[in-house]
């Protein structure tokens, strides 16, 4: 470890990692810097990485330019509802798939699994027709129904439940707990990390979803922050600084959630990917 060659290599490695990370993060840096500039200062040659004056008032002005508060609220309502339903029904169904043995179970699970591989675009038209006939187009309910019962949550939770030894549920069964009791009192408390992973991934996916709200939500009152931001860009495409301000605000909640629950994201992706 104390060889000079090793130290040099370590320094080279660090420099390389710092350069790569900065290169990947540069778009965020540019977004942040531009968000506190004047429109005329955004595209300058050469790029001003440090603005002459910081226009923090962009962050107060934007709320009256765009109904951003409403968009954020809409995104929050959708994300919270969908996440709650997905986690609840997903973990409940996963228990049936992982811990109760009955005929047809594995075939049914394969059906779940197969649909994960079918691109949503392949069946969005029949979905749209159904929603239209039910009069649910342009309501929040349409998106909640579409996204709350995804196969992904069932899959992720089942993979985790399989790692919990069956002896635990057997012991609880002998102690007289019903299957529902075992789910609620034995399995759920043990699966907190997986629940956190699923909740965070679902929340972020719903928050960032563009295509769903784009197709289903036509009234401005219901728009999510993604649709609202896109519409703002289309309408005021020369207000570069304000557009960047809006972008920063739309990313901030995700940044906070990500920094708090980082390891759950990584674990969730690793679990769904590898088992």
């Amino acid at each position: 470890m104390s060889r000079p060659g090793a130290t040099v290599r370590r320094i080279v490695l660090y420099v390389l990692l710092i350069v790569i990370s900065l290169a990947v993060l540069v778009p965020f840096g540019w977004m942040l810097v531009s968000s506190v500039k004047l429109d005329a200062e955004v595209f300058t040659v050469p790029i001003q990485w440090i603005p002459q004056e910081l226009h923090w008032d962009n962050f107060t002005k934007i709320w009256s330019r765009v109904p951003l508060a409403r968009y954020l609220t809409n995104s929050l309502i959708l994300s919270v509802t969908i996440t709650a339903l997905q986690v609840l029904t997903g973990s409940f169904a996963a228990y049936g798939f992982a811990k109760v043995r009955f005929p047809g179970r594995d075939a049914l699970f394969l059906a779940y699994l197969a649909t994960i591989a079918v691109p949503w675009q392949a069946y969005m038209v029949p979905q749209y027709i159904m929603m239209e006939r039910l009069g649910l187009v342009d309501t929040r309910m349409s998106l909640i129904l579409l996204q709350a019962f995804g196969a992904f949550g069932v899959f992720l939770m089942r993979q985790y439940y399989l790692t919990i030894p069956d002896e635990l549920s057997e012991a609880a069964r002998i102690d007289g707990l019903s299957e529902y009791g075992i789910w609620a009192r034995v399995i759920l408390p043990l699966s907190k990390p997986a629940l956190a992973s699923l909740a965070l991934l679902t929340f972020v996916n719903t928050w960032n979803d563009y295509m769903g709200p784009f197709i289903y939500l036509t009234s401005n009152d219901l728009w999510t922050v993604q649709i609202g931001l896109r519409a703002f860009v289309g309408q005021f495409d020369a207000e570069y600084a304000m557009i960047m301000t809006g972008s920063v605000i739309s990313v901030l909640p995700i940044l906070v959630i990500f920094l708090v629950g980082q390891r759950y994201f990584v674990q969730g992706i690793a679990t769904s990917g590898l088992k």
Binding site: L146, S247, A270
Partner: protein
């Protein structure tokens, strides 16, 4: 959680071991209990995923617009597709996107994962940095990159000028360069996700393998090709399938960055399905496009599956 060896299929097929067979009454009760767990999710899943998938299969062979009654027309929709220039453009563009997005993302993700798979102080910060674009709002990503790619004074072209490129591309304003711009953005956004998959895969390779190879005099490059790459085969298989599915269904990024333009230079299949099915209300025709999309994804997946199986023998 990621400590067991990566194996995509085994746990899916084999559930927990079978307990001794109970009596019929008890079995029926168990089945009821099992279904009761699955039902709340299954009702939504069946109504909103399973049935629509089956419906697509049928609709593709029907003529049905918003205001007409469905009518069986056999292969008519597919004949119209075959003759439609827009369809071929969309198919070509989607294949172009996939041909760029899949290999570039895979190589970048694998490279960064190998680079970051070591015990170093602060390594977590670098992993976080590379992963972050993946969970950022797509609209923000697309909007920022659109500006970065701005032809006149955009930072990308300023950088190209600085390194001596005199004729910089028009990126999203040019029919030739719009797709490369979309691909670059997509690789930047997605590589963190696949890097995490590869990092999990790398952690399952026993360190002794590398130590033994080092004793045998294998250099880093040889160790990468003869240990890392073969050991990561299951991960790569999964990554390839995920990349294939996600490239063929690309929508959001293209829609926000270029709306399929300029002209039809970045129009992809998903947009065609959306335009025909949702905006124009041509349910049958758009379902035919959807079916083609699905069959392509299925075929590519099956081929990859075959190659993977042959490699294991």
């Amino acid at each position: 959680m990621a400590s067991t060896p990566p194996n995509l299929l085994e746990p899916v097929v084999a559930g927990p071991p079978r307990p001794p067979a109970p009596g019929p009454a008890r079995r029926r009760r168990t089945a009821l209990v099992g279904w009761s767990f699955i039902l709340p999710n299954f009702v939504g899943f069946a109504a909103l995923t399973l049935i629509p998938i089956v419906a697509t299969l049928g609709l593709a062979f029907m003529q049905w617009n918003s205001y007409s009654t469905p009518e069986w027309v056999g292969l008519d929709n597919f004949r119209r597709l075959w003759a439609s220039e827009t369809f071929w453009t969309a198919l070509r563009n989607t294949a172009y996107y996939a041909a760029g997005h899949i290999p570039l993302t895979l190589v970048a993700a694998l490279g960064f994962a190998v680079l970051l798979n070591r015990k170093l102080r602060g390594i977590g910060i670098f992993r976080t940095a590379l992963f972050f674009p993946y969970i950022t709002s797509l609209v923000a990503v697309a909007v920022v990159w659109n500006m970065l790619f701005s032809p006149d004074a955009g930072p990308v072209n300023q950088f190209l000028h600085a390194i001596g490129v005199s004729e910089t591309p028009g990126w999203t304003t040019s029919t030739t360069w719009a797709m490369p711009a979309v691909i670059i953005t997509s690789v930047w956004r997605d590589l963190g996700y696949y890097m995490v998959l590869y990092l999990a895969g790398l952690q399952t390779i026993p360190g002794e393998l590398y130590e033994a190879a080092e004793v045998d005099g294998a250099g880093p490059w040889a160790r990468f090709w003869h240990i890392t790459v073969p050991s990561l085969r299951p991960t790569t298989f999964f990554v390839l399938i995920m990349l294939t599915i996600s490239s063929f269904k690309v929508f959001d990024l293209v829609q926000v960055m270029t709306e399929g333009g300029p002209g039809r230079s970045t129009l992809v299949l998903s947009q065609l399905i959306y335009r025909e099915g949702v905006r124009e209300g041509r349910f049958g025709y758009s379902s035919a496009v959807a079916l083609v999309l699905f069959v392509i994804v299925l075929l590519v997946t099956v081929i990859q599956f075959r190659i993977q199986q042959r490699g294991e023998k």
